[in-house]
């Protein structure tokens, strides 16, 4: 045991030392930027507690039924419409953005790049832009989420189409059917479950997004949330948060259960 040969001299770990130092500097610099302060944290704590107390029943039911339910329903309708129509628009584009079905590499490249571009636009920024163009309300929110759903579903679906079995498409091509019909009858049946699953996935994200869209004036429950925060009405803010949380959870659970059964 004690007679093993000596290890060679350990080289000084420059990389780790320098790396740790750089990380530490970046961390300190960035936290300073957030104006982090323990005293401010402590001062705000009672507000947070009041907010959580507001979440607890008894709730002022006239606020819930009169003011909360209608925009909540509007939020869900925005999310539903945006995901379904966005997905419908995404379907043909997904075919064009996959090398298996695209008629040539130009169509493929152009649609791919277009989809990448669409997905780089943050939905809140888009919603704010659209709200300033089309006025405040549900419509700009719907448009923003439509673009978002379109981007997500088209990208995911295009990647799925890349992995399909080309055989049925070839077989249908030899019957004299056009490329669109090959995609419709040879490819679509192969990806239909994924298509529905991605639409549901977009819907889940849209419900969450639609609740905050109101903050930039784009309709839904977020508008109410914004005014209640502005009036420092923490009880109502608490109720809105609790109900939103419950609705999002419910939809997420339902939707992901269906998705798991599909694929």
């Amino acid at each position: 045991m004690s007679t093993h040969p000596a290890l060679p001299k350990r080289p000084f770990p420059w990389m780790s030392v320098v790396g740790t130092a750089i990380t530490a500097v970046i961390l300190i610099w960035s936290v300073q930027g957030t104006k982090f302060n323990l005293w401010v944290l402590a001062d705000g704590l009672p507000n947070v507690l009041r907010f959580f107390k507001g979440m607890l029943p008894p709730w002022p039911m006239d606020f819930v039924t009169g003011q909360l339910i209608p925009p909540m329903v509007e939020t869900i309708r925005i999310a539903l419409a945006a995901s379904m129509l966005g997905a419908a628009l995404a379907l043909p584009v997904a075919f064009m953005a996959s090398s298996t079905v695209a008629p040539n590499k130009w169509v493929y490249q152009i649609t791919r790049n277009l989809l990448n571009l669409v997905r780089t636009i943050p939905d809140l920024v888009l919603a704010a832009l659209l709200a300033s163009a089309f006025g405040i309300g549900a419509f700009p929110g719907f448009l923003a989420l439509l673009v978002f759903s379109f981007g997500v579903v088209a990208k995911l679906l295009a990647d799925t189409v890349e992995t399909i079995d080309r055989g049925p498409m070839d077989a249908i091509a030899t019957t004299g059917a056009t490329r669109i019909l090959q995609a419709r009858h040879g490819v679509f049946p192969q990806i239909a479950p994924e298509f529905i699953a991605y639409t549901l996935y977009a819907f889940e994200i849209n419900v969450r997004a639609a609740t905050v869209l109101g903050l930039v004036g784009a309709g839904g429950v977020g508008v109410l949330l914004k005014t209640q925060i502005a009036f420092l009405n923490y009880t109502n803010v608490g109720i809105i948060t609790a109900v939103t949380f419950a609705v999002v959870m419910l939809i997420d659970t339902l939707s992901s259960t269906i998705r798991r059964r599909l694929v």
């Binding site: 055989g167 077989a171 030899t174 019957t175 004299g176 192969q190 479950p193």
Partner: protein, 271 residues
Amino acid sequence: MSDVSTGVAAKAATLVSFKNTSVTYPNGFTALTDVNLEFHEGEFIVVVGLSGAGKSTLIRTINRLVPPTGGDVNVLGTPIRNISDANLRKTRRRIGMIFQNYNLVRRSSVLANVLTGRLGDLPTWRALLGLYTKSDTDLAIKCLTRVGILDKAYNRADQLSGGQQQRVAIARALAQQPRILLADEPVASLDPPTAHQVMRDLKALSREEGLLTIVNLHFVDMAMEYADRVIGLHAGTVVYDGPGADMTEADFERIYQRKIRPDDMRGAAEH
């Protein structure tokens, strides 16, 4: 056409004629060199040769899955080398094709798969919506009855055995109401008894419907057993063209460039 051995075909119409046809792939590989052949209505033709001899290319040139790069092929009265897309689709409607891997839409029902054979003849809007007419469905049912699997019409294609899936593929091709049936290694994925069953089905169809049928096979004994006429290919040229029964040892060796071996036979002895 002067071939006396194919008595039936001699008077029958010429459906496919290769005229000095050559095929060179984009990668530079020459698969067919100066092929001259005529195929007639009702003929049952088996193409044999080693892998890479050009069997698949020969078949796929007929429906232009592979375009000829030299000479031309006349298919159902149309030269196909410089054919327009629209005319190609029109020509393809009357050419059924079956594949080694069946190429069915696995998640779709058997009936839905057979109906895709009708797409070429439907107006675009109907085809897009999948609104087949009553006569399309009737025809699909007839085709499924013809191959003996009508009872599986509403099963998903992937629930069927290999032999049954190949029969669905045959029904799909029949639903096109074709004049030519191409079969690219149709029995290569099947066990010997099933392989023989599929070959018997193809042969019977050819007889009864007057279909020109061209089948690629790897196995010489099967070729001899079923073919009216055997085409032997070696390195992209036709080295044998005649009745299967007349093939001699020397003909085999010209096609395979070696003595015949047991693994060139599918064999009836295995079952």
